[in-house]
C-alpha cells in the first residue's frame, strides 16, 4: 500500500527529481539566494510588454533551464503540471499552449509548488508517466493588480503584509536515478480559522501548515529530528512563530530546524514587509537552493510544506475569511548516485 494514514503518499524508492530550473525578477536576484537562480531579470517587466507576459516568460525560462539541464526536449515529457496565482491559471495555460506537453492545470495558490510536485511524483510512481514537469510561477505586479490595487496606487501596507515573489520554478520528476528522491507527500486539508485580513496571510496559513506537518510526521512515523530542515512556503515573519507555537502545543518541536522560504529569499533589509509569498517563493527557494544543498550533500533529508492562502478578492469583499492549505513533500538525498 502506498497510502499512509488518510492523506499521505509513500513513494517507491525510484521516484527522483532529475533537474530543476528557476527564473526570478530583480528583488529576488538581489536577495541572499540571488546567485543560485538560473535566469535573473534586472527589470520587473522581464523585457516583455506587460506584467502577464513577464510572468509567462519566467515560467518558460524556468522550464527551459530545467529541460536544458536534463538534456531533454518538450516531446520527451509526458505531462506538464503547472499553476500560478492568476485567474484560470492563465500563465500555466499559455505556457502549455506554447510547449505542447499534455497539461494538467493545478491551483493551490502559493502551495502549488508542492502540490504539482506531489501529483507529478504520484503519476511517475504509479506508472502513469515516465517524465513529468511540475512548475509554478508568481509575479509581484500581476498578483498586486489581481488581488490588491494597481501597482502605482499609493495605498499603505501594514508590516504583516507579504511581498509576492517574482519568480518561477520547474522540476523534472522521473524514474531516472538522480541524487534527490521524492520520499513522501501529504496532501493538506483546507483550513480556515477565521482570519479575514488579506494583509496578514501568515496568520491565516499557519494552522494549515501546522496541520499538514503534524499529519505528515505522524503518517510517516518520523519526528522533526529526522529532517535536516522543515521548510514552510511563505508564512513570513508573522506566520513562522505561529506555526512553531501551534506544533509545540501538539508536542512537536520544530524550532531548531524550521525555515521559511519567504524569509530566506530576501535580505532582512529589503523592503518586503513580513517576507516573501506567492507560488514562486517556495518554488525558487526549493528548486534553486534546497535542491542544490541536497545534491551537494549539505542536507540529506528535508520536508517542504508549501502553504497557500486560497484568497479571492470578491470573497474578501463579501466578508468571507481566508481558506488556506498546505502540501508537504519529503525530499531525500540518495547516496552513491551521480547526476
Amino acid at each position: 500500500m502506498k497510502l499512509l494514514g488518510r492523506q499521505t503518499w509513500q513513494f517507491a524508492q525510484d521516484v527522483f527529481v532529475n533537474a530543476a530550473g528557476t527564473a526570478v525578477g530583480p528583488m529576488e536576484s538581489e536577495g541572499p539566494l540571488g546567485a543560485l537562480f538560473d535566469k535573473r531579470y534586472s527589470e520587473l517587466h522581464c523585457n516583455e510588454k506587460n506584467w502577464e507576459l513577464a510572468e509567462r516568460r519566467l515560467m518558460e525560462d524556468a522550464i527551459g533551464s530545467c529541460l536544458m539541464k536534463a538534456k531533454l526536449k518538450n516531446e520527451d515529457i509526458n505531462f506538464f503540471l503547472a499553476g500560478d496565482l492568476l485567474n484560470q491559471v492563465v500563465t500555466a495555460n499559455y505556457v502549455a499552449r506554447q510547449n505542447q506537453i499534455p497539461f494538467l492545470g493545478v491551483f493551490g495558490a502559493c502551495s502549488t509548488s508542492m502540490e504539482s510536485l506531489a501529483i507529478g511524483a504520484a503519476l511517475v510512481d504509479g506508472g502513469y508517466a515516465h517524465r513529468v514537469i511540475a512548475a509554478c510561477s508568481s509575479h509581484n505586479a500581476t498578483a498586486e493588480r489581481q488581488f490588491r490595487y494597481p501597482t502605482e496606487y499609493g495605498g499603505q501596507k501594514p508590516d504583516s503584509a507579504t511581498f509576492t515573489v517574482t519568480g518561477a520554478g520547474a522540476a523534472l520528476v522521473s524514474h531516472q536515478p538522480s541524487s534527490v528522491r521524492v520520499g513522501a507527500a501529504t496532501i493538506g486539508k483546507v483550513i480556515d480559522l477565521g482570519i479575514k485580513n488579506p494583509f496578514d496571510m501568515g496568520s491565516a496559513m499557519a494552522p494549515a501548515a501546522a496541520d499538514t506537518i503534524a499529519t505528515h510526521l505522524q503518517a510517516t512515523q518520523t519526528t522533526p529530528a529526522d529532517y535536516d530542515l522543515i521548510v514552510t512556503g511563505d508564512l513570513s515573519g508573522v506566520g513562522s512563530p505561529i506555526v512553531k507555537m501551534l506544533l509545540h502545543e501538539q508536542g512537536i518541536d520544530i524550532s531548531k530546524n524550521h525555515r521559511d522560504c519567504g524569509l530566506m529569499i530576501y535580505r532582512p533589509d529589503q523592503e518586503v514587509f513580513a517576507g516573501g509569498s506567492g507560488c514562486g517563493c517556495s518554488a525558487v527557494v526549493t528548486y534553486g537552493h534546497l535542491l542544490k544543498e541536497l545534491i551537494e550533500g549539505r542536507l540529506s533529508r528535508i520536508l517542504v510544506a508549501a502553504t497557500g492562502a486560497l484568497l479571492n478578492p470578491t470573497m474578501m469583499q463579501q466578508k468571507e475569511s481566508i481558506p488556506t492549505i498546505a502540501h508537504a513533500v519529503t525530499l531525500e538525498r540518495v547516496k552513491g548516485v551521480s547526476t
Partner: protein, 151 residues
C-alpha cells in the same frame, strides 16, 4: 469548518505574535507629508492669486488642478506609490491621493487597451469618492434647502 469558538480562540492566541502598526510614527509621517502637501497648495493659491487674478472663491480650481497634475506625473514615473507607503493617509487624503487613484488605475489597465482598459478603469478606485460625495451633497442639499424654505 472551524467553529466560532475555535476562531476566537485562535485570534486570541496569535494576538501577541502579530505586529502592531506603529501608530505614533504612522501618524507623524501622515501629519508631516499631508501638511507639506497643503503647504504646497497654499503656495500655489498665493501664486495664482498674485499673478493670475484669481479670487479666494475660485483659486481652488487652478490649485487643485496643479496638484492633480503633479500627483499624476509622480504616479506615472512610479514615485507616488513609494510616497504612499511612507505617508499612508498623508498622501491619500489630499486631493493628490484622488489623482493617484485615478492615474494608477488607468495606467495599470493600459495593457487591456485604451477604451476597455484605460477609460473603463479610470474611476475604478476613485469613483467611490465621487459617488459618495454626490449622494451626500444631494441629500444634505435637499435637507438644507427644505429647511431654508420652511423656516
Amino acid at each position: 469548518m472551524a467553529t466560532k469558538e475555535q476562531q476566537q480562540a485562535y485570534a486570541e492566541k496569535i494576538k501577541p505574535l502579530q505586529p502592531k502598526p506603529p501608530y505614533f510614527i504612522n501618524c507623524l509621517k501622515a501629519f508631516v507629508v499631508g501638511g507639506f502637501i497643503c503647504v504646497i497648495g497654499e503656495a500655489l493659491q498665493k501664486f495664482y492669486m498674485t499673478y493670475f487674478n484669481f479670487t479666494t472663491e475660485n483659486v481652488g480650481n487652478p490649485t487643485s488642478a496643479t496638484l492633480i497634475l503633479i500627483a499624476a506625473l509622480l504616479t506615472g514615473i512610479g514615485v507616488y506609490d513609494k510616497i504612499g507607503q511612507f505617508a499612508g493617509a498623508g498622501s491619500a487624503v489630499p486631493v493628490t491621493g484622488f489623482a493617484n487613484a485615478v492615474t494608477s488605475a488607468a495606467l495599470e489597465h493600459r495593457s487591456e487597451g485604451i477604451v476597455l482598459g484605460v477609460a473603463t478603469n479610470l474611476f475604478k478606485i476613485a469613483g467611490a469618492v465621487i459617488v459618495f460625495g454626490a449622494v451626500a451633497a444631494y441629500v444634505f442639499g435637499m435637507i438644507r434647502y427644505a429647511f431654508k424654505i420652511l423656516l
